[in-house]
Structure formats: C-alpha cells, structure tokens
C-alpha cells in the first residue's frame, strides 16, 4: 500500500526526457494504468516552447484517496537520458528510486547541450559543493549519499538488443523509440504493478496503431521480467496492488474537459488562432465535430482556424448574431488582440464565450508555462465601459460544468463571458467523477425564434426594437434572418433600432441599460457559482479566523494543503474559491469573511490581482499574500510550507514561492 509520509500518502512518479522522445506516451500509459488499477491520479506536464530536443517531464501523483495537486519531491524518477538525472536527481525523497541508463553514467553536464547555462551552473555548483563530479554518476552519488536513493542501473541498449533478437526484428533504431516504455515498465516492476493492467493501458494509448501497441506490450513485458529476474525489488517502500476501479471515475485531460462542455452546452461554432495552451480545445472540437443527439438527430460544430485572434473573435460574434452559441479559445497574447471586438460584443449585446487559457506573460512570456496574471486584464479589457462576465474554473471537473454555465450567462445577460482557464488546468490529467451531461439545464435567455409584424417590440418606423428600453435592461434578441425582425448593430452608440446616435439623453439611457445588466446578473447568479467556501461548515471551527482566498487552478493545491495542515497541526483553515470575478460578488464574500481575522491571498502572479479586487470591492486588506511567478504551478508542499510559516508567526507579508524545474 501507499505509506504515510509527512506530507501525504501518495507516490510521486516523474518521467523525463527530450521533447518528442515519448515522455508523454510513457506518462499517459502510467496514468492510465494506475487509474485502471483503481488508484486516483493527478498529473502535470512541463515542456519547453520547442518541437524536439528540449527537456520535458511529466509528474504523476498516485494515491488511494482523491488528490488534486502535485508535489515537488520525487519518489520515483524514470529517466532514459542524462538531463533528466541532472535536473531532477536532487529532488528524490528519502529512499526514493532513480531508474537510469547505464550507458550514461559518465556523461558530463557540459555534454548536455539542452541544459541551459543557468541550470547547468546551479547543478555544477551544487555538486561541487558536495564534492561530487559534474557527471550523471556525481548526481547519483549525491542522491544516494544524502537521500539514500535506491538506484536501478538499466542497460537499455543491451536489453533492447536482446529483445530485438528475441522477436526477430533487426531494426534496432526503430526499437529505440520504445526505451520510454521499457523505463516505465521497469518502474512498474519495482512497484509490483499488475503487468496485465499495464498491457491494457499500453493498448489503450496506442489504440489507433494496433501493431505499435503489440510490440510495445512485448517490450514492456520483456523489461518487466528483466527487472524481476535481475534486481532485488523489495527495497522500495511503495507497492501498487491493483483493484477494481469505480465505474463512476474517468481519466480526463484539462484540454478536453471544457471542449466537452462546449459540445454539451450547444456551442456550434468555434474559432481559434493557434496558441499554446489553448489550441487543444479547438482541436478536440474539430476531432469531434459530428455530434450525436438524444433525439436521434445529427448535429455538428463548425470550427474555423482564422488568420489571427481579431478574426477569431469577430467571426465568433458574426456567428452569434445568427443565434448560434459560439466561442473562441485563446491565451493572453491572443486575448490582447481581441480587446476591441470584446467591446463591440458588449456594445451590441452579443453573447459569446471566450475560453482564456492563461499562460506566463507579458508579451510572449514563458509561452508554455503557467501563470494567472490575466485577471485584471480580463476584468478591464477593452476601451470604454461595457458589461462582461469573468468566470473562473478551479479544476478540470469544474471546467466542464462551468463551460455550460458560461454559455448560459452569455445568453441570459447578452454579453461576452470570459471563461478563465490556464496552462495548469490544460496540461494536467486527473481522475475525477464522470461528467453528468444533463445536470445543468440550458438557458438561452430572451432568444426569440420568431416575431410577428404587429409585435409590441416594433418602433414607429415599423422596425424591430433590438435594444428596446424598458424596465428590464435585457431586450429580446432575434437571430439574423428572422422575418419581421430587421434591426441594425453598430459599434457607435445607438437607438433602440440600432441606428447611430450621438444624442446625450439616448446615450445615458443606453449606457444605463447595458451596465445595469450586471446588477441583474449579480442578483440572479446562484451563490455556488459566485464563490465556494471550504471548511466553513465545520461547527467546531478551529481556524482561529484564518481564511485563504484564491481563484482558478490553485484550488487543488490549496485544498490538499489545508487538509494536510489539519492532519499535522489539527488546525482548520477556511478557503474561499472565488469563481465569479466580475461582477464581483462583494456581499457574498463579505459574509464569508465575517469571522476572518487573518486573510491570506494565494495567486500565481506578481501583483496579487484578486487581492486588488478584494481591496477595491470590500475595502478589506489582505494580511498575507502567497504568490508565484516563475511559470511553474504551485505545489501542495509549497503552500503547506507557506501556511506553516504563517501559523508559526514567522512569515513576511508577501511570500514568494520559487520551486520549479
């Protein structure tokens, strides 16, 4: 079983290698196998902005309980290149495992060209300080000496050669691509994992290529048996005995969940311009563009790759004008280009959804790394003042349901909705409860399908009043092409028909109409979609008035960390996850904060942007901020340690987290 360590009862498994060398496949197989073996997993992928050659790695945490975050310390490191050992070898936990290639022990740091100078210097200095040579062997000795690491030296080339002889396949060069599966399988042998379950996972991951699947299964079995017959595998503290998985659990990636929500929500038009980490959302939709329907019909989604993000958002708006639920998916640089059109959508009350997969900014930033630094931008993007909703998901499971809600908000309030997601969500994989497609109703708001010529919504000229002024700031909306419904739209201030006006009285009325929709939204949107309070239901509240406030994908690491604090310190800490960022649910959050004495803001950005919103809307100071902006998501351990510092009374007002590889 999984032993109880200080931080948690879980196994952290890491595989690393050159981008394009099969790191992802290995991690996907491992994740899938563990999930099929009845375990809960949380995995995250780190990679360079590069096609082939740079170092990428995948961290998978495995537990027999639900988990929501990763840890920095590595229990088991699977490597088949030198760089992985150099970069991660010092992060092995006590009595952790390193699997490495026997042919690489004498490789020096200088020989690893993809290891950038800064990292190379840091590692060299560290090894020198500890009187170790700057070689793979040096790092292994360091791990052995300081963390008592268990080392498994694997002659990959030799095993591959034996394997190729055995299967009478002389093309060794093709087989070298299976080194990743052999390394993975070696780790599975150490974990005493059921080889049958592993074989099933390999077949699943390579399901479109049955021949490749078969040879990989054979290679995995060969490597597995080699480990069992060559080494004493009893030393490692972890074993993963499989059990029957629950039929309610799925294994899902964060770049699939929101797209699945879009299909369910009825999004039938999506545009995009390629950008990391948002493109996968659109590619998933394009791969699944034919939609099965419960009424036996066949629906479809049109996905258009546009020339830029300006075209992406304006095309999505054009589609929305025909009554279609439409969306675009982008990241910060693309969203910057969308700012002007966002205002047009607000001005003309056109519902659209923008999936904003944040990454490290500004400019190109760290294009494949994580950050939550676009909150204030999303709240304020565009010139002039117009209503918009900014809604943030905290994890993969939420992002499915939130996507449906985002479309409901967009149509009900006839405005753009910016759905905040990020790289940490998009590039993680997790076991979670199977999505319930039908738990959220579809609300199209005041969308009319037809209008009669004698409708009371007609103006004196006999034209439909698209922007009719009445008690209700939300006017009925009709799709382009509807009989008797002719209206006009313009980015200029406009009359009820939609014609240009510069009249000061009409201007005031139209501004009031548009902006007051936010009051309606704030009144109608249910509390659970505004903010979630964790730990508040505890009658024997032991928090001593300590509350964390945060938003987005820090949720998982915070939840796991406060559980750990409770476990080790017996102290409960409350956590408010703000989901509706704009309009800001001040009343609700004010109520949640009533007994709070110490307010801790946790965010993946430099300026504590949610903290700014709290100060602005609640006139309430943040007592401690925990921030991180090095591009790597916060781990549960980092948050736990920061909370412990605060509890001990020995913490600065602003704690900057810096872990990352």
């Amino acid at each position: 079983m999984l032993p109880q360590s200080k931080i948690s009862n879980s196994l952290t498994w890491v595989v690393g290698g050159a981008q394009g060398s099969g790191v992802d496949s290995a991690a996907n197989i491992f994740s899938r196998a563990c999930a099929q073996g009845g375990f809960y997993i949380f995995g995250k992928r780190e990679y360079y902005s590069n096609i082939k050659g740079e170092h990428s790695y995948f961290t998978v945490r495995v537990s027999d309980r639900e988990i929501h975050s990763h840890l920095d310390e590595i229990d088991m490191l699977v490597s088949f290149d030198a760089e992985t050992v150099f970069r991660h070898g010092d992060k092995i936990t006590r009595r952790g495992v390193i699997i490495y290639d026997s042919a690489l022990v004498n490789t020096t740091i200088q020989e690893v060209h993809t290891l950038d100078d800064n990292a190379a210097d840091r590692i060299t200095t560290m090894l020198e300080k500890n009187n170790k040579p700057s070689t793979v062997q040096g790092m292994l000795e360091y791990a052995e000496q300081y963390n008592d690491a268990i080392l498994y030296k694997i002659p990959y080339f030799h095993i591959l050669k034996e394997f190729s002889d055995k299967i009478h396949n002389p093309s060794l060069s093709k087989l070298t691509r299976m080194v990743n599966v052999m390394g993975l399988s070696a780790s599975m042998a150490i974990l005493d994992f059921d080889i049958e379950v592993l074989a099933k996972a390999i077949k699943y991951v390579f399901r479109s290529k049955p021949k490749v699947a078969d040879i990989n299964v054979a290679a995995a079995e060969y490597s597995y048996n080699y480990m069992k017959s060559t080494f004493d595998l009893s030393k490692f503290k972890f074993k993963l005995p499989c059990r029957q998985p629950s039929s309610d659990i799925i294994l899902v990636q964060g770049n699939q969940s929101s797209a699945m929500g879009k299909i369910t929500a009825g999004c039938r038009f999506q545009t995009y311009y390629p950008i990391t980490p948002a493109s996968d959302d659109s590619e998933f939709l394009e791969s699944n563009q034919i939609i099965k329907q419960t009424d036996g019909g066949k629906g479809s989604i049109v996905v258009v790759q546009t020339e830029d993000e300006i075209a992406a958002i304006t095309m999505a708006i054009g589609a929305a004008l025909t009554g279609v639920r439409s969306a675009t998916a982008t990241s910060g640089p693309g969203f910057s280009l969308m700012a002007e059109a966002l205002g047009w959508s607000g001005m003309n009350e056109v519902p659209i959804v923008i999936s904003l997969y944040q990454r490290t900014g500004p400019a190109t930033g760290l294009p494949t790394r994580h950050e939550q630094s676009d909150l204030m931008f999303a709240v304020n993007a565009g010139h002039g003042e117009f209503p918009r909703i900014v809604f943030a998901s905290g994890d993969i499971e939420e992002s499915f349901y939130d996507t449906i809600k985002a479309f409901n908000f967009a149509e009900r309030y006839q405005l753009p909705v910016i759905h905040m997601l990020d790289k940490a969500i998009a590039n993680s994989i997790t076991t979670c409860h199977k999505f319930d497609q039908y738990s959220i109703s579809i609300d199209r708001g005041e969308l009319l399908k037809s209008v009669s010529a004698s409708s009371s919504d007609m103006g004196v000229a006999g034209n439909y009043l698209r922007f009719k002024l009445s008690q209700n700031p939300i006017s009925p909306r009709i799709p382009l092409g509807t009989e008797n419904g002719i209206f006009w739209n313009t980015g200029d201030e406009h009359t009820e028909e939609g014609h240009i006006t510069e009249d000061p009285v009409m201007r005031t009325k139209m501004m009031d109409k548009r902006m007051s929709k936010l009051d309606v939204a704030l009144k109608e949107i249910p509390a659970e979609d505004k903010a979630t309070l964790y730990g508040g239901e505890d009658k024997n509240d032991s928090s001593g008035g300590i509350t964390i406030i945060s938003w987005g994908s820090t949720k998982g690491a915070i939840l796991d960390a406060i559980e750990q604090v409770k476990l080790t310190e017996g102290k409960g800490i409350k956590f408010i996850q703000v989901r509706l960022l704009h309009p800001f649910p001040s009343t609700l959050i004010g109520d949640m904060l009533q007994d709070t004495k110490v307010l801790i803001d946790i965010e993946m950005n430099f300026t504590s942007q949610l903290g700014l919103l709290v100060r602005q809307n609640l006139k309430r100071e943040i007592n401690y901020s925990i921030v991180k902006y090095n591009g790597r998501p916060m781990s549960m351990g980092e948050i736990y340690n920061a909370l412990m510092r605060i509890l001990s009374g020995d913490a600065p007002r602003r704690i900057v987290l810096e872990h990352g590889t």
Binding site: R32, P245, I249, I250, L251, Q256, M260, I263, T264, A265, G266, N288, I291, K292, Q293, T294, D295, G297, K298, G299, S300, I301, V302, V304, T306, E307, D308, I310, A311, T314, M315, I317, G318, A319, L321, T322, V324, R325, E340, A341, W344, K434, Q437, Y438, S441, D443, P479, L480, G481, T482, E483, N484, G485, I486, W488, N489, T490, G491, D492, H499
Partner: protein
Amino acid sequence: MALKLADYKTDIHNDWCPGCGDFGILNAIQMALFDMKIPHHKAAIFSGIGCSGKTPHFIHTYGIHTLHGRVMPFAQGAKLSNPELEVIAVGGDGDGLGIGAGHFVSAGRRNVDMTYIIFDNGVYGLTKGQAAPTLKLGMKTKSLPQPNVNNSVNPIALALVSGFTFIARGYSYDVRHLKDLIRKAIEHKGLAFLDVLQPCPTYNDINTKEWYQGLDNDDNDNDKNSEVSRKNIPRIYKLEDAGYDGMIHSEEEVNSKSAQVLQKSNEWGNKIPIGIFYQNEQIPTYQERITSRIDNYMENPPSKQDILDRNSKAVANISNVLDDLRIDK
C-alpha cells in the same frame, strides 16, 4: 405584396457629403437586391468603419456596422453559421486593404459564398483625407501635407492572388452597370470581390468625377505627334466592350487568364477598365469544403440546430467520448 425599390431604403438621414460617390453604390446595392427580389430579412449587410461603414443604416435589411478593418471576419462568421443568409460586406479601401488587409487575403483563401464591395476612393474621408492604400505614390491630394510616400496596393491583383473567385470593378457613377455587377457578384458561387471607384468630392481632388469622365484627357497624351487631337476621352471603359472575357471555363485556362487579369489590373491613367476581370466557379466554396466533412451541414447548419430538448436539457450526447475516458472497461 410585391416588393418595391423603396422597400429597400430606410428613412435614416444620410450625412454623406453632397456629390459623394457612395450614393451611387448605395443605390446600386438597393437596386440589385430589388432586382433579385431578395426578401429584406434574408439579407444582411455588414460594414467596416468610415463613411462607407454607414451604408447598412440606409438599407432596409439586417445591417451590421462592425469595427475598422474587421468586416470580413464578422460577415464570414454569420454566413458560415447561416448559409441561407445573403451576406454582403462593404467597406472603404483603407478599411479592407489597409487595416483589414490580412482578413482580405485570408477571406480569399476560404472562398466563402458571399460578396465584398470596396468603396475605393484613395483617402480616409471620415478622418479628414489622409492617404489610403489605393492612392498612388507621389500623389498629393489637397489635405495631404506632403505627397503620398507609400505606393498603392492593386486591389484586383491582390484579390486574384488571394483566391477570390469573382473579381470585378465598378464605377459609382455608372449605377446601372454597377447594379448588374453587384447582381452577378451575389449570384456567383464563391467569394466575389467588387472594387468600386468612388470619387471623394471633399478630399480626393485628383481622382474626381471629372477626372474619371476624362474632361482633361486627350489622346495627345498617348501620341504627341498626332495632328488631330481628340478631347474629353472618358478614362473609364468596359472590359466587355473591349472583348475581354474573364470567365474560367476549365482548369487549363487559369494560368493564361490570371496573367491577363494582372495585366488589365495595371491599366491606369488614360484608360481604366471596369467590369468582370475574373470568374472561376471551379474552386470549391468554403461551404462545400465543410460539407465534405459534415455531410448535413447545408440542411442543418449551426443556426438551425436545436441544442436543448423540451426539458431544457442538452440534446448533445457525448457518451461515446465519456466512455472512452472510462477506466473500468
């Protein structure tokens, strides 16, 4: 009730300058819609920003006045979601060939079945006459502090190399001819581009109505030694009158006819051709390309799809996707 031409007009006050070339284009659009008896609600006019951007407000169909340079993506989004809609995009040369040039090129690559009309006057009128993309190098219109330092873009040639499948030029003071061109553009299967020469009486004092009429034009310009000088030769002439045929009848003609388009598009000065430069219906439209992936796209496009049932639950069924993610199978 039979439709009248007046039914395509609105009572919105038109604030274009007296003598503006835009009036001719507006009339021609209304006449083409009337000619084709397109029901008001089945048409949507999209526009960019500038004087031409106001056009939809004067036409009694759905009218969407968008952002500077962005008319094409807005319009394509609507057309692709509802292919039954007759979509016409309009805008100035600054809008479509300056700030919106990227969208112009990309629209050509798609070949969405719709029409794009550029009101081409060489100046940014509404911002008081700065040089626009079709103004020739060295021209100094009266509001320019210095002669134009940029060379001009050739809209016809750009449309050709971008992939537009109907390319024509009209003249705003030949309304009947322009109306026929608009009608042909709408009837064309694919993306039609119409470059309309349109004098700006306020800011472009070079390419004026009189200039197009050739009041200053005589053939001595061409032949200095000629004994007899002919005066007042209109610069504008019609390609069809000159025996020009831009229709592509087979793939083999594409190269030779494209060369012919480029050659004709460079004619400027004493002789300026209008009419159809190029028409090619052999290229699949974007709608046809979508249909090859989604076979019921034309019958059941995005705008026609029901997305919820009587109980407001989703009609989409993603159980196959979810089953694929199950781990117990």
